[in-house]
C-alpha cells in the first residue's frame, strides 16, 4: 500500500479529479485504511462544498444598482 506521504503528493490532483484510474485505485485503497488521510480528504471536500455553495462575495443588489447607475450616467453624459 502507498504511504501517507505518497497519498499527500497526489492529493491535489485527486481533488481535481485529474488522475489516472490506476492511481485513483491506489489512493482509494489508502483512504479506506488510513483514518488520518480519510479525515483530511473528507474535510477538504466538505470545505470545498461549503465554499462553493456559500454564494460568498455576492454584492448586495443596492450596491450593484448604485455602481451600474453611476457607470450608465457617465456613459450617457459622454454620448450626449
Amino acid at each position: 500500500m502507498i504511504t501517507c506521504d505518497e497519498f499527500f503528493a497526489e492529493f491535489g490532483d485527486y481533488l481535481e479529479s485529474q488522475i489516472s484510474p490506476e492511481v485513483r485505485q491506489e489512493l482509494e485503497q489508502h483512504l479506506s485504511q488510513c483514518r488520518a488521510c480519510h479525515v483530511l480528504y473528507d474535510s477538504t471536500l466538505k470545505t470545498l462544498k461549503i465554499v462553493t455553495d456559500s454564494s460568498s462575495f455576492e454584492l448586495p443588489a443596492s450596491v450593484t444598482d448604485r455602481i451600474i447607475d453611476r457607470v450608465m450616467a457617465k456613459l450617457r453624459k459622454g454620448q450626449s
Binding site: I50, S56, I67
Partner: protein, 608 residues
C-alpha cells in the same frame, strides 16, 4: 547619463572583477545594468564563450564583425568600444577607419570581405538570408564551425546593440563620430500582417550546418530545454557543435526569460512573441506562442499578440511595454529618453524596463540564430498561419464589413449574450446596461478575488465596466462575452495591484508548498452546512478567505468561488499549471484549517 537608474555593485562582483582584470575598467554598458546583476552575469558568460573562446576566428576578426554591425546600426557605444578593443589588439586607427568607411576597399582578403558581407546581411536584411548565402561562405573555405561561429558572433552583436539602444550607456572613450553621409540602417519596418507569407517553409529537414547528438541525460542545458519544450527544438540542435555556447545561452535564458521576479513570465513571453513577429520570424513566434499556451493562454490570444497586440486583451500598460520593445527591435536608433519616461509614467520600474530591454535583446539573439542557421520549423504554428490567412486587426476588419455590430455567426449560435452584444456594439446603451447587470456578480467576484477589499473592488468595478464599454467595439466573439468581460475586470484589478506595487501576491517564487501539512485532524460533521445558518456560513467563508495571504486568496477565489479551470487561473495569474496547483492545494488546506473549528464533530454553535 544612461537612461536608467544605476546602482553600485560590490567590488567583488565576479564579472566586474574579470572586466577590470581584462580591460582595466568596467564598461559602462554593464554598469548600466547593475539593477539586475543576473543579466550582467548572463551576458558576460555569453560574451566570454563567443568572442573569446571559439577557434574558427581570431578575436580581432570577431571584433571587426561587431564593429561593422555596430556601425551599420549606428550604435555609437559599441563602435567606440570595438575600436578601442581593436586598437588594444594592435589594429591601427587607419585600418579601423578604412573598415568603417568602405570595407570593400579596406585591404581585406576576399574571404574576409565575404564574411563581413554575410554578417551585415544577417544583421540588417535577415529576411533575405538563405542557404545560398551559406554556400557562398563555404566556397570561401569556411567550414561548419566557422559558419556557426560567425552566426553566433552576429547574434551577439545584435544582442548587445539592442541593449545599448535601450539603455544608452555613455561611451567609455571619446566617442567615434560616424561619417555624416552614412544612411540609417537599411532595416525595413516590417508589417506584421504580411508575416503569414514570411519564410517559414524551406523544405529542408536539417539546419544549414552539421549537428551532433547531445543527450539530454548527460548535457544539462538540453535537460532544461526538454523540460521547457518537451523536445529539443531545431534552433538548439543547430548549435550542437558548440556545447559551451549552449551552456552559456541556457544560463542567459534562465536569467533573462525564466526568472520572473521583475516582469511576469507571461509578460516576458508576450514580449518574445511580439518581437519575433516584428522581425518576421515565424519560428520563434510559433515556439513562444506554444509556451504561452502552456501558461494557459488561448492560441487566439497568442496569435493576436503576434499580429497586433493593440487588439489583444492585454492591459494598456502592457501594450505600451510591447510598443517599446517593438521600437527597440526594429528602430533601435530612434529609442529615446521620452520612451523610458513614458513607461515610468505607466508605473513601470527601472528594473522592469531594464528587463524588457534585455528580453528584446535576447529574442533578437535567438531569432538571428534561427535565421542564420536555418533551423527548420518544428513547432505547431498558431492557427492563423496554418490557414495561411492574414489577420486584419479587428478595427479594420469591421470597416470592411461596413459598420458595426457584425458578429461571426458562430458566436450568435452559442453565446446567449450575442444579440445584446451586437446592439451594444452599435452604440445602444440600454443593451450594454442589460449585459453588465447580467454579469455584475461575476465581475465583482473577479475583482474581490484579486483585490481582497470590498471598497476598492467596488471602485474598480466602475473602472472595469467603463473600460468594457470603451472596448466593446473590439470584442470579436471568439470567447463568450461573459469571459471577455470578466477578463477585463481581472486586468483592471491586476493593474491596480501593479500600480500599488503589490506584485508579491502574483509572483511565482519558490514557496515550499510541500512543507505545509494539515494540523487539524478531527473529523467533520456529516452535514456541515446544517450547523450554521446560510448567512453565518457565508460570513465564515468570506472571513476565512479574506484571512488567507493574498496569493492563496486569489487562487482559491478564482478556482473555487469563480470556478475557473486550473488552466484558466494559471493563465490569468501568469503561473505555470504545476505552480498553480501547488498553491491552490495549499490555499484550500489553509481554508480548511481556518474553517475546521466551526465544522468538526465537536463544534457547536461556535461564536463567529
Amino acid at each position: 547619463m544612461a537612461f536608467l537608474r544605476e546602482v553600485r555593485l560590490d567590488d567583488q562582483f565576479g564579472p566586474f572583477v574579470a572586466y577590470r582584470a581584462n580591460y582595466g575598467f568596467v564598461p559602462n554598458f554593464f554598469r548600466a545594468q547593475a539593477l539586475l546583476p543576473r543579466l550582467i552575469e548572463a551576458q558576460a558568460a555569453l560574451e566570454g564563450v563567443i568572442l573569446m573562446e571559439g577557434k574558427a576566428f581570431s578575436r580581432i576578426q570577431k571584433q571587426k564583425i561587431h564593429l561593422v554591425i555596430a556601425a551599420a546600426l549606428q550604435d555609437t557605444y559599441w563602435v567606440t568600444a570595438r575600436i578601442a578593443t581593436l586598437q588594444s589588439l594592435g589594429v591601427s586607427r587607419f585600418q579601423v577607419s578604412q573598415l568603417l568607411e568602405n570595407l570593400h576597399q579596406a585591404g581585406l582578403s576576399t574571404a574576409e570581405v565575404a564574411l563581413l558581407d554575410f554578417c551585415l546581411k544577417l544583421s540588417l536584411d535577415w529576411q533575405t538570408v538563405g542557404l545560398e548565402d551559406i554556400e557562398k561562405l563555404r566556397s570561401h573555405q569556411f567550414d561548419d564551425f566557422a559558419i556557426l561561429e560567425a552566426v553566433l558572433t552576429c547574434a551577439l552583436a545584435r544582442f548587445f546593440s539592442v541593449l545599448s539602444a535601450g539603455l544608452r550607456p555613455e561611451p567609455d572613450f571619446e566617442p567615434y563620430k560616424l561619417s555624416a553621409g552614412r544612411s540609417a540602417p537599411a532595416t525595413k519596418v516590417p508589417d506584421r500582417r504580411s508575416f503569414a507569407h514570411g519564410p517559414h517553409q524551406h523544405g529542408r529537414k536539417d539546419p544549414y550546418i552539421r549537428t551532433v547528438y547531445l543527450s539530454p541525460k548527460t548535457f544539462a542545458p538540453f535537460a532544461g530545454v526538454l523540460k521547457t519544450h518537451g523536445f529539443i527544438p531545431n534552433v538548439y540542435r543547430a548549435q550542437s557543435l558548440r556545447p559551451d555556447v549552449l551552456e552559456a545561452a541556457s544560463s542567459s535564458v534562465r536569467a533573462i526569460l525564466i526568472t520572473a521576479d521583475v516582469l511576469s513570465r507571461i509578460q516576458k513571453e508576450c514580449i518574445f512573441v511580439a518581437v519575433s513577429a516584428a522581425i518576421l520570424n515565424s519560428y520563434c513566434v510559433a515556439a513562444h506562442c506554444n509556451l504561452l499556451r502552456g501558461f494557459g493562454l488561448s492560441p487566439e490570444e497568442g496569435d493576436q499578440i503576434a499580429f497586433d497586440h493593440h487588439q489583444s486583451n492585454l492591459s494598456k500598460a502592457d501594450k505600451s511595454l510591447l510598443d517599446f520593445a517593438l521600437k527597440l527591435a526594429v528602430r533601435p536608433s530612434e529609442v529615446c529618453r521620452e520612451d523610458i519616461d513614458g513607461l515610468r509614467a505607466l508605473s513601470f520600474t527601472d528594473e522592469q524596463i531594464l528587463e524588457c530591454v534585455a528580453l528584446t535583446a535576447l529574442s533578437n539573439y535567438v531569432n538571428m540564430l534561427q535565421i542564420g542557421l536555418g533551423a527548420e520549423p518544428d513547432f505547431e504554428l498558431p492557427r492563423g498561419y496554418e490557414q495561411n490567412k492574414v489577420h486584419l486587426p479587428e478595427a479594420e476588419a469591421r470597416h470592411t464589413k461596413e459598420g458595426l455590430g457584425v458578429l461571426p455567426s458562430a458566436m450568435a449560435a452559442e453565446d446567449p449574450d450575442a444579440g445584446l452584444v451586437a446592439r451594444a456594439q452599435a452604440g445602444e446603451l440600454g443593451a450594454f446596461e442589460e449585459l453588465i447587470r447580467r454579469h455584475s456578480s461575476s465581475v465583482y467576484r473577479a475583482l474581490m478575488a484579486i483585490l481582497g477589499n470590498p471598497e476598492e473592488s467596488q471602485d474598480a468595478m466602475q473602472d472595469a465596466l467603463l473600460s468594457a464599454f470603451k472596448h466593446i467595439g473590439g470584442f470579436q466573439g471568439r470567447a463568450k462575452f461573459s469571459t471577455w468581460l470578466i477578463s477585463i475586470a481581472r486586468n483592471t484589478a491586476l493593474q491596480r495591484l501593479r500600480d500599488r506595487k503589490d506584485t508579491e501576491s502574483l509572483d511565482e517564487g519558490v514557496e515550499g508548498e510541500e512543507e505545509f501539512r494539515p494540523r487539524q485532524i478531527r473529523a467533520w460533521q456529516d452535514d456541515p452546512e446544517q450547523i450554521h445558518s446560510k448567512s453565518e456560513t457565508k460570513k465564515l467563508v468570506e472571513k476565512s478567505i479574506l484571512g488567507l495571504p493574498s496569493k492563496y486568496r486569489i487562487v482559491v477565489m478564482l478556482r473555487d468561488i469563480e470556478q475557473l479551470s486550473t488552466e484558466e487561473v494559471a493563465r490569468q495569474l501568469g503561473l505555470t499549471v504545476p505552480a498553480l496547483k501547488a498553491r491552490l492545494l495549499r490555499g484550500r488546506l489553509m481554508l480548511r484549517e481556518s474553517l475546521a473549528p466551526h465544522f468538526t464533530t465537536a463544534a457547536g454553535k461556535a461564536a463567529i
